[in-house]
């Protein structure tokens, strides 16, 4: 499958020409955009990813991400921006899962599975309904950081700003609920609301990461950078910082290696992240 990497933007020509190509790159708007996207997504990976990982709800983030495909399909059918569709579906799923998983102790796995598969199915059906040419949606599934248009950069930036505002407003609440929900409740913190807010932050992160590694691979950036960072961190804030740093490093290495190898950037990012995780298991003694 070659869908991930867009062959038209350049072609690798061996290492000799590399430096020339690199200087050309920085004149390329798409390349500049992909750098912006990488930096902006590291914010979501650091902040939201840390809460998600420590709260052990990585699979909820998988469900929310996959459900967003429904919105993307719908956006093609009705003709609005795919990011709006993705965000709408992701937010609905976040609210659906967070409200139902508390009520009556519904089986959480089941809720995640439904959201996961239903979202994908709706997406595929809408694309079936859409007459005429439907662009290749591989980029949304597996990421394609080098095709992020400027309009999407604004979405990503907006989502990051909302994440930063909400987390700085409710930092203590997020921390308390993540650490010990029962005790947080005994202090009068509205744990249900904070939980829902966290899942909505995951929804925002989905549209941030969707073009970086895609719906399918996103879950890895909500676990690998955090797992490595946890080994190095003695506090929440340092874990956030390291997670962002590792996330950024993986994405940038993925970006550059995709450029030189002409392979899908999202998949390379995950491959590199996974190798680093294995190395960390071996080298870092907890």
């Amino acid at each position: 499958m070659s869908g991930g990497s867009d062959r038209s933007w350049c072609s690798a020509q061996g290492f000799g020409d590399s430096l020339i190509m690199l200087s050309e790159l920085f004149n390329n708007q798409f390349f500049i955009n992909s750098l912006y996207a990488a930096f902006l997504s590291s914010i979501a990976i650091g902040i939201v990813g840390t809460f998600v990982y420590l709260r052990r709800i990585t699979f909820i983030s998988g469900g929310i991400a996959h459900s967003s495909y429904g919105g993307i399909g719908m956006s093609y059918y009705y003709g609005f921006h795919p990011m709006i569709g993705a965000l709408g579906f992701a937010l609905l799923t976040a609210i659906f899962i967070s409200s139902l998983r508390r009520k009556k102790r519904k089986n959480e796995d089941m809720l995640i599975s439904i959201a996961w598969a239903l979202g994908m199915s709706i997406g595929v059906l809408f694309i079936n309904f859409t007459p005429g040419y439907v662009p290749n949606l591989m980029g949304y599934l597996f990421g394609n950081i080098i095709t992020v248009p400027t309009s999407e950069i604004y979405f990503i930036l907006g989502a990051d700003v909302v994440i930063i505002i909400l987390v700085s407003m409710f930092y203590k609440q997020f921390k308390a609920v993540t650490f010990d929900e029962e005790f947080a409740a005994s202090m009068g913190i509205k744990t249900g609301l904070i939980d829902m807010l966290l899942l909505c932050l995951i929804a925002l992160s989905t549209i941030i990461l969707i073009k970086i590694v895609g719906i399918v691979l996103l879950i890895a950036l909500f676990s690998i950078p955090q797992a490595i960072s946890l080994k190095l961190s003695k506090s929440f804030s340092s874990m956030m910082f390291f997670s962002a740093l590792f996330g950024l490093a993986f994405i940038l290495i993925g970006l550059f290696s995709s450029y030189y190898l002409n392979l899908a950037s999202g998949s390379l990012t995950i491959l590199i992240a996974s190798l680093c995780y294995l190395a960390s298991e071996y080298f870092i003694k907890e």
Binding site: K172, F179, E182, F183, S186, M187, G188, K234, S235
Partner: protein, 252 residues
């Protein structure tokens, strides 16, 4: 506290409290009025409903019937009133936080300044004799140390009611004595509900005692009859009282 209201508001007031899980009745029409600055010890067999009882008072569990009021308010509106020490540490020990961080979480809903909080934490660390572990990661604590951190965190809330669910199960003798001296001191100002299987300790420190096994046996006193105990535990009391039943059963 407004004084014009002559009516005494109880710290905890339960009216016909009933809790069911499915079709199983765990707590059966419990009535209890606990005045401020009481120290109630609750004993009862495993599965008797003690933890459920405490969680219902805190509002984690919605009663099937009856009502709970904390200083005249519903549990949901009583944030910051209650300090809770759970039976098992409910936190995840893989977290990147140190002992001070965890205790500080008890102050997350309070509005006082950082300086005051820092000196409060220092005080609590000294009281619970954890000062030497202040910067230790929680993942590196022993079970008993962890339990003392939980107690410290509840103290940091500066609650009006302290609710403790077998807080001393894994705590060594000396820390145990130390801990109950702290409770005694605190009890001058606040109300305490304590679940414990340690009848020796219960009898030495609490003011009132209740027995819970689906139903609450409580007579607004520290006395509990041999018959009640045996009925509640459904076994000879000496067994559960480690041969010291007479400490509980104050001489009639």
């Amino acid at each position: 506290m407004p004084q014009q209201n002559r009516e005494i508001v109880n710290a905890v007031s339960l009216k016909n409290l009933t809790v069911k899980f499915g079709n199983q009745t765990i707590l059966n029409t419990i009535n209890l009025d606990l005045a401020e600055k009481e120290f109630l010890g609750i004993i009862g067999p495993n599965g008797g409903g003690k933890t459920t009882f405490l969680k219902t008072i805190m509002g984690f569990i919605t009663p099937s019937a009856g009502s709970v009021s904390i200083f005249g308010k519903t549990p949901k509106d009583s944030g910051g009133t209650i300090g809770y020490v759970p039976q098992y540490s409910t936190f995840e020990s893989h977290f990147p936080v140190n002992v001070t961080d965890v205790i500080k979480m008890g102050t997350y809903t309070s509005k006082v300044s950082k300086v005051i909080i820092d000196s409060l934490i220092d005080d609590i660390l000294k009281k619970t004799r954890l000062s030497h572990l202040a910067k230790r990661q929680v993942s590196e604590l022993s079970g008993g140390e962890k339990q003392r951190v939980l107690i410290s965190r509840a103290l940091a809330v500066q609650p009006k009611i302290l609710i403790l669910d077998e807080p001393t199960a894994s705590i060594d003798y000396e820390s145990n004595i130390n801990f109950f001296e702290i409770l005694k001191e605190l009890n001058k100002d606040i109300t305490i509900l304590l679940v414990s299987h340690d009848i020796g300790v219960i009898s030495r420190y609490v003011k009132k005692i209740a027995c819970l096994n689906r139903e609450l046996h409580y007579h607004d006193s520290k006395e509990i009859s041999q018959e009640t105990l045996e009925a509640v535990y459904k076994c000879p009391v000496d067994l559960i009282a480690h041969g010291v039943p007479h400490r509980v059963l104050e001489t009639h």
